[in-house]
Point group: C2
């Protein structure tokens, strides 16, 4: 069968990695999973699709971004299936999963979820239509203890400290702070005001002030909104800075107290990691309390690489409400930016640490036996694909970054193994040879 | 924001697991990945979508099964994007990836790929519309060495022996055997004949004979086709059994030789694992040589849980051809059947091995310090969500299957830890206490 001559081209917004880059991404996934599991988050995976009506209206401009799916053979539509769409995040499906399985889950329920999501937005650098998110969330029944709001960013900080991302800051705000503040200065349209202030980083304070006034705010109200959004402290100083603006409202008090608790926990457990940043708003509608964003220092232009917040009514069946808090690493985005902008990759393009050479096709069985013995002790290896000249077999290893080539019968009394980086070749026994720990897995390197 | 009152119901064919079942599935994924990496397969992930025209005609009835995607906001169609569909397997996207990146890959290229695929077929027990496949493939440029055809099923056998799937047999055939045989007895429509004989397990020999005669075969030709399909040997005996049917054709000779090489390798390296089964055909069009299917003994009615074969022209840009061979574990199918039919699950619903109790909210920091010390030594744990009575905190652990509860300050000179299964409670220091190896990760258990 000859395939049709479809042109083979990348699809904008649907990124793919080369093997060494995928090994780097897997390292990130492994670290993130290990930290999540050390903290007792249970793994979960939800289906890729949800009913479109469940996706709609859950996430700001979500309706513009949803990919609907339909069976090709069904075109014209039998109308049998409800309309389905690919999920655009992992929080909305998780909330649905909690409602669907509430009777079979133990609460508070801690889960992590690492999956692809899809958004039909315009692709641009670091923005994809298909990408992997790595989420943790805790949900409870009726009430959710506030200490979980401090825990989420600290788990992320632990993962990030184990990853080659450099210095980072997790910015924390609480939606009740701007909400109470806006109400306290007489601005009733909280959501509208928040949406305008959210554009601060993009369009600057003058434009934001103009938009606020256009929306009905006085010059003084606009000034106060900008003054609030400018507050940013690594300690609890933000409280007095807000108080100094002379605004008071019970919701503002509640927000400042909640935010103080999160920042205080950060100061105690991971100094220098959390920052109270009163400009952080998050686009998604469903957040009701604490919100998080994360910046890599020196790469702030990349935007947030890890975001989330508290949602009190995303999961509700009308009688019972399951409030939750969660945070999500934009993994594809993070890895692609580190590859493209900081030149990160893996030290080789295969898990194999050893290539077992083949002397001639008749003795392939002997080489295979060496490989079996190495694998039995956890050493990833490959048998050479052909009994080519040794020079070619060494080149095979070199092209893939495989550090060792094993030569059966090369020594006086047995095999030898060569470190092709140093050229050093020594006698070795497949039953006892130890691969240096540092070479056992591909390492993270800079190109 | 109150969510719309969308009814929360499962979607037929889009399965989801409870946390303990997902931990079981993760165990399968971990074992499979470990074995694939030990054998030097590089990890790869391709985008979930391909141009529909690339998916069409690649896999038997594929056109009936493809899910097309479209941006909801685009309804009516701007016509800007080429029509995209979700992939229905991992082989077609892999072949496309090889063509697209041929200049940046080292050949022969060994890769594994574990991803969701989607098929719009009618859901039934063990058949899903969304499921995970775990594939290995080797592709080369121009020619592919035959030893790879023996290697594929033996790697799978190694993975299966490490998994709680019980006894299994990998059935191997070579498409050249029936092809040469049919030509040798004068049946020119090889594909049509193969399609009919492929129904043998479903409809039985009488029906197959009737369909063959209906399609133009003589009674004697139909009898010979059935006689060939009935041959099944664990050793090389199949060769003389085919010869005894008195048919000869050069393609048949080539097929018997290739199949003998695979079965001989199996006899040598993993006796009792491979079976020459001349009834195996595989539905997908693109296979050209060796084909594989896998049955779990005692659960043959489940059908094949791992299948694949050699394809010589799936990846071709017109000038260069990249022949390949691969095999694919139907992981979702396998895990769901083992959960539903053999009662497998994980011993707990969380990775946490220890619940650190909280005496009162004021001392939560002390409990958190215990958890941090345990995690630093790789012990997954959780701090109790509230300072409830110890009985309730123990119940919290018990409901999740967490084996140990840690009580800060419960001993005369420090902490104590209780094995809540035996009730045994002993003095313990978070800096030195060792979690029994068997309890560190959830175990596979039968309900």
């Amino acid at each position: 069968m000859t395939p049709p001559a479809t042109k083979v081209t990348p699809i904008s917004g649907f990124p793919e990695l080369l093997p060494a880059e995928r090994l780097l991404e897997l390292h990130f996934l492994d670290v993130v999973r290990e930290v999540f599991e050390l903290h007792g988050f249970a793994p979960l995976e939800t289906r890729a699709v949800e009913p479109v009506e469940r996706l709609l209206g859950k996430g700001g401009d979500a309706d513009k971004e949803i990919y609907a799916i339909s069976r090709l053979a069904d075109e014209g539509g039998s109308g049998r299936d409800a309309e389905l769409g690919l999920h655009f995040d992992l929080t909305v499906p998780f909330a649905r999963y909690v409602l669907e399985n509430a009777g079979r889950l133990a609460f508070p329920f801690r889960r992590y979820q690492v999956q692809k999501v899809w958004r039909g937005e315009r692709p641009q650098e670091g923005r994809f239509r298909e990408f992997t998110q790595a989420d943790i969330d805790v949900v409870d029944v009726g009430e959710l203890a506030p200490h979980f709001e401090a825990e989420m960013p600290l788990v992320i900080a632990e993962a990030f400290r184990r990853l080659p991302v450099g210095e980072f800051r997790i910015q924390v705000n609480n939606r009740q702070v701007p909400e109470g503040f806006y109400l306290g200065i007489g601005l009733e349209d909280v959501a509208g005001t928040l949406r305008i202030v959210d554009k601060l980083a993009k369009i600057g304070p003058e434009e934001v002030a103009a938009l606020l006034v256009e929306a009905g705010a006085s010059d003084e109200q606009a000034r106060l909104c900008l003054a609030l959004a400018a507050i940013r402290t690594e300690d609890l100083g933000f409280v007095s800075q807000v108080r100094a603006l002379g605004v008071s409202h019970p919701t503002l008090d509640a927000g400042l107290e909640a935010l103080s608790a999160v920042i205080a926990a950060g100061l105690e457990q991971a100094p220098g990691t959390l920052v109270a940043d009163l400009s952080v708003a998050r686009g998604l509608d469903y957040y009701t309390g604490t919100v998080y964003e994360t910046q890599l220092l020196g790469s702030e232009v990349w935007g947030s690489v890890c975001s989330g917040g508290r949602y009190d009514s995303l999961a509700s069946d009308g009688r019972t409400t399951y409030p939750g808090v969660g945070i999500s690493i934009g993994l594809t985005r993070l890895v692609h930016l580190l590859v493209a902008k900081r030149g990160l990759t893996a030290s080789r393009s295969t898990p194999a640490a050893v290539l077992v050479a083949v002397v001639d096709e008749e003795s392939r069985g002997r080489s295979r036996a060496v490989a079996t013995a190495l694998r039995a002790r956890g050493i990833p290896c490959e048998v050479a694909p052909s009994a080519a000249k040794f020079g070619r077999q060494i080149r095979y290893a070199d092209r893939r970054g495989i550090p060792f080539v094993w030569f059966p019968g090369a020594g006086e009394s047995g095999d030898q193994v060569k470190d092709i980086r140093s050229g050093e070749q020594v006698d070795a026994d497949a039953a006892t040879w130890t691969c240096p720990e540092v070479d056992l897995r591909p390492a993270v390197v800079t190109r």
